[in-house]
């Protein structure tokens, strides 16, 4: 017999009212607007776009406001909205070599064409709280210098020329869009990369860190890290003309990892790849390291049984919306399930007592 229970409607409505009030906070303090969030909390906005898998700054800022700054809740809102959008089509693959860079660094070569450009980074700050920000309005202006508007080549292309690094050649394998088709293991690398790019930053950071500590043999250097705007090219179906339909900020990381060689090919470096929306370099680097560790089969490496090598483990658990959905659902009423467990444990205890009396 299944007994459904109803109730709690008033409690739920009142909970939502209080949520609305508490989201607003002290009414004597000015209310946040969406533009303030999208202009001043840019890296939160970027994270919600990346893991929400939808590039739209205003929507991301709205999601952050609505979720009281709970970024996973905001990502959930973005994902839910994303599913309502008709898909107009797919872009041409982006050309990150033509990126309008805000930042471009290499940890492997000092002198590179296009030079090392730090951009707006936290890297060399002292991580001391800046009490000046408690006061209003003070900020430094960015400095400017004359430049050459030249394309900035990828650093790894130089290693490529010498044959010192493994080449990335299209495999010819067809890949599915993981948001439209169920996942079937083993996956292609493209399917893994799609999954990683929208995966949880914290989870990927933890896994990438585990590879650095020795759980998967792949010591990594950051061959190149770049952040900037890339033109997205899309063919207008009615016209057959390809246009620059959107300008999107990306962070790209190419890692250089230890050698692979065989009887036919002398030792050469291998590589991992990270590409994410926004200025999320911690995530881009993490993605590159985890991409690399999951390529063990392709490079004929040993399977060490560690998490970062196991694509089924990584891909099945890197999506924070799937994860939080399953995790958080256990706080919703499970009265009937639990009643069954309760009956079972009582029965077992009774049998245990009977047995004890017999002996």
């Amino acid at each position: 017999m299944y007994v459904s229970v109803k109730g709690g409607e008033k409690a739920i409505n009142n909970a939502h009212s209080w949520l609305s009030e508490i989201r607003r906070g002290d009414v004597n303090i000015a209310e946040l607007n969406i533009k303030q969030i999208s202009e001043q909390l840019t890296l939160s906005v970027d994270r919600v776009m990346s893991e929400g898998s939808l590039y739209d700054k205003d929507l991301s800022a709205l999601a952050i406001k609505q979720s009281r700054g709970d970024l996973i809740e905001a990502i959930f809102l973005m994902r839910a909205y994303r599913t309502t959008l008709p898909r107009i089509g797919s872009s041409k693959p982006i050309e990150t070599g033509k990126m309008l860079c805000l930042r471009r660094i290499s940890a492997t070569f000092k002198d590179i064409p296009g030079k090392q450009k730090l951009g707006p980074t936290f890297d060399y700050t002292h991580r001391l709280l800046d009490f000046k920000l408690l006061a209003d309005g003070e900020y430094e202006k960015a400095k400017i210098e004359k430049y050459d508007d030249k394309e900035i080549p990828h650093v790894l292309s130089f290693l490529n020329k010498e044959g010192l690094i493994q080449k990335e050649i299209p495999s010819g394998k067809t890949s599915k869009d993981i948001t439209r088709n169920p996942i079937n293991f083993p996956l292609t690398r493209s399917e893994r990369l799609q999954s990683l790019s929208r995966g949880d930053e914290g989870f990927l950071l933890g896994l990438a860190y585990s590879t650095q500590r020795g759980y998967a043999r792949n010591h990594a250097f950051v061959g190149e890290l770049r952040t900037g705007y890339v033109e997205v090219q899309f063919e207008i179906p009615e016209l057959g003309i390809e246009i620059n339909i959107a300008d999107v900020m990306f962070t790209e990381c190419e890692s250089v990892n230890q050698f692979k060689g065989s009887k036919k090919i002398p030792a050469q470096f291998t590589r991992g790849y990270g590409l994410v929306f926004g200025q999320l370099e911690r995530k881009a680097i993490s993605m590159a390291l985890v991409d690399r560790s999951m390529r063990w089969k392709e490079f004929g490496e040993e399977y060490l049984g560690v998490a970062a090598q196991d694509e089924e483990f990584v891909i099945s658990h890197c999506d924070n919306i799937q994860a939080t959905g399953f995790l958080e659902h256990i706080k919703l009423p499970h009265y009937v399930d639990f009643q069954a467990e309760l009956d079972l444990v009582r029965k077992i205890r009774e049998e245990y007592k009977k047995n004890e009396q017999r002996t």
């Binding site: 590039y55 872009s91 620059n244 590409l275």
Partner: protein
């Protein structure tokens, strides 16, 4: 050749700052008769990347796009494919695309397209010059044993 210039104006319209494009259009105060072929609709385009820059394509994520199509008469059609979710921006883009095929071309070019190009170039220059200011100049310190 015609397609090349249409590609250019469609690109600048698509990626224009929406408030800027709207103010440019509204300032022209043009009353244009048109019929909808497709009313503005919000959707998305899946953006593709390439694994390791030169390898297989993969899906990175989607970007919001609004599109519409209209006609001025039976011959001239305008298409407004733009970044974001602003239906008015999409309509303006479609109207500009259509008008660029008429004798009003010069007005639209001078008052809208050229200004969008200038706006985008200014933004680009601003980023490039700020990025350049953060370029690292390395120098080596002379060590004692080298003396």
């Amino acid at each position: 050749m015609k397609n090349k210039s249409r590609k250019q104006w469609l690109s600048y319209l698509a990626t224009a700052d929406e408030n800027y494009l709207i103010s440019l259009w509204d300032n022209l105060n043009m009353k244009i008769e048109y019929n909808w072929l497709r009313e503005p609709e919000i959707g998305s385009v899946m953006v593709q990347g390439k694994a390791g820059v030169t390898g297989d394509n993969f899906n990175v994520g989607e970007v919001t796009i609004t599109r519409c199509s209209l006609s001025l008469d039976k011959k001239i059609q305008g298409h407004g494919y733009v970044q974001g979710r602003n239906k008015y921006k999409s309509k303006i883009a479609a109207l500009c695309d259509a008008l660029m095929q008429t004798e009003k071309k010069e007005i639209i070019k001078r008052n809208i397209i050229d200004k969008l190009i200038k706006y985008k170039n200014n933004k680009r220059n601003e980023i490039l010059s700020k990025t350049e200011a953060t370029k690292v100049d390395f120098f080596t310190l002379v060590r004692g044993e080298d003396k």
